[in-house]
Symmetry: C2
Subunit: 418 residues, 2 copies
Amino acid sequence: MLPVSVADPAAGLPTWEEALFTATSAVCVTGLIVVDTPVYWSGFGEAVIAVLIQIGGLGIMTAASLLAILMARRLGLRSRLVASASVRAVGIGDVRSVVLGVAKMSIAIEGLVALILVTRFLVTYEMNGPAAVWKGVFTAISAFNNAGFALDSDSLMGYATDPWVLIPVACAVIIGGLGFPVLFELRKHIRVPEQWSMHTKLVILGSVALLVLGTITLTALEWDNPDTLGAHEVGGKLLLGFFSAVMTRTAGFNAIDTGAMSTQALFTQDLLMFIGGGPAGTAGGVKVTTFLVLFFIIVTELRGETAVNIFGRRLSRAVHREAITVALLAVAVVVLGTWILLIATSFSLDQILFEVVSAFGTVGLSTGITADLPTGAHLLLVAIMFVGRLGPITIGSALALRTRKLMFELPKERPIVG
Amino acid sequence: MLPVSVADPAAGLPTWEEALFTATSAVCVTGLIVVDTPVYWSGFGEAVIAVLIQIGGLGIMTAASLLAILMARRLGLRSRLVASASVRAVGIGDVRSVVLGVAKMSIAIEGLVALILVTRFLVTYEMNGPAAVWKGVFTAISAFNNAGFALDSDSLMGYATDPWVLIPVACAVIIGGLGFPVLFELRKHIRVPEQWSMHTKLVILGSVALLVLGTITLTALEWDNPDTLGAHEVGGKLLLGFFSAVMTRTAGFNAIDTGAMSTQALFTQDLLMFIGGGPAGTAGGVKVTTFLVLFFIIVTELRGETAVNIFGRRLSRAVHREAITVALLAVAVVVLGTWILLIATSFSLDQILFEVVSAFGTVGLSTGITADLPTGAHLLLVAIMFVGRLGPITIGSALALRTRKLMFELPKERPIVG
Ligand SMILES: [K+]
Ligand SMILES: [K+]
């Protein structure tokens, strides 16, 4: 990042650690911060962050969507993203149509959300024109791309009672988190759910279930907490509970003080953040589909059935292996990361686990310890953000695309398990 | 439990909750307690506990070994536990030979350990004859069966500097935790490791690796903690670190104060307790073999290879499914149990997670909160102990023994994962 990106040049340039952490957090659309965005960075610095977020968000959506097309073709299945599914490679035409589709959809949704926010900032908060526009645009970009960077030091806590700010932001987050393949299919067949693919049904079913469960649990757990929901009326409690549930998947804005939430609410959010949103979108985590696929595999195993059938379709056996590998590796990364940070710092398990899951799921929520961690811990979080952002999609696609060669087989043995 | 089992009848009979919790803890060889064993129970009550432990230990070893034989036969593999592998059912002869083998081995090892302990109690601690014999026998039974019940209120903390007590107990725990199939094979081929089955190699490799890693980590983490290892000399620190590492898999005695250990050491022990010991023995947890099988599956997936080869043998594909189902269900039980207990009580995540993993792994270590939990939490822990004790083996065998019928197949679809 350039020197001009700092708000107060007299205070010195950003260190390489601050610059690396912030840039990684922006490109990975995580939103964890070591320096306070509005105070530390200049307008130019903020613009750089917004551009990095947009590049990161577009990049991940485009790349993941193209990989999904490629997978569908390789496996000889009907591609739902583009019309011509006859070729087995991804051509320049596909790239063009996906990039255009993703860009158009991003701009349309970000524009709409920015319009509502700018109007609200101008009318109700009487901000001056350029400030309102910049804040509305930045927040809309940050929300749709699930980045969670905010232009206030206290994130969105200043708007905790304003549904006209919280609800547009929540909608942008949810839509961005569904993923491009789902949005593309919904645009075509929104009125005919029978036409939806298993993928779209899984993402929508999972997202709705997690949002409802998350809202109920978080609202109930924080109902009387004087530092979070306690001060609000019933409507406000529900709005903020819903907003908190949405933000764990995996946007990372907060309208109530995360650090003041109870252990129970933090752990609940750990689970939601770990699962995350839909694939090929801007959300992080192991993804809703991975979670539901594992759920259906286990139900099938316990029932003693042989094929995993969901919504009247059989789940491809290759997907079992992908989901299991992604989930096990994710658990390994989170457990190892937590273990190392616990040993290297003096924060509690609550705080460390939350921080690691937040980095892995590229969520960006924090109990407030990020800035106080030592350099080594920051580097580890940078690594976890990258792994969390790129790991699941890379492993999922690599497993799906690979041709397996069977050279010879060794004699078989079966150890006892369990 | 009978009225005479209480040490002080004037104080009233045990409540159903105390009796149920203690009996479950004994039969499942867990060792979590809600009342102080030496103070609350009479000599008769202690004898009942010892008998329940022995029944639980023998039962689980016999049942698991018979299931292993049955599995080996069904799958047409050479059975390593009994000579005649030609019949496909488990006959009365097998049951006889397994029960006798398990009983003989249990008595031999328990006798040897009891002998060392009784001698030590008589000679060094100048206890009177019957007290020394009862304490030595009880401790040996409790150790070999990985039960962790102790006849001192502070478990083995009174013997924290005495290797003549700690090392025999640790050996009994390790041997009991290897599992009967491994012991049976070692007895036959101890000098020719080339002859060992994949199962035996996995258990021994995993146990040694976890013991070494556990000893190093726990010793290092608690080195300067004045309430645990800080007061001891280097030799004592190493002895107690080793003892603590052994006890997490999954015996549950403690010679240092678990409640005073650091967050880091508690989390390290959570991991060790979750993995546990070898199958068809007295240890709990998901089992060393399950853990290593998953490890090798992931390594194979990441390398892009098609068959999981371990020690020059191919891992049976059916085992993949068993290991994955056992591990995922175990994670689900621990996460759900932790979530519910967190919400229902006011203890920290550290303490609750440790308690739940300890119950699931039938370990019996505790940060000291067991007795203070409400009735509902005790019932949940009872359920988790049963699930932890019987779940992995039941699910593993059920999956292995089931014949799958393929009636018809639905059209295939593949959602995006990761
Ligand atoms: K985020
Ligand atoms: K135990």
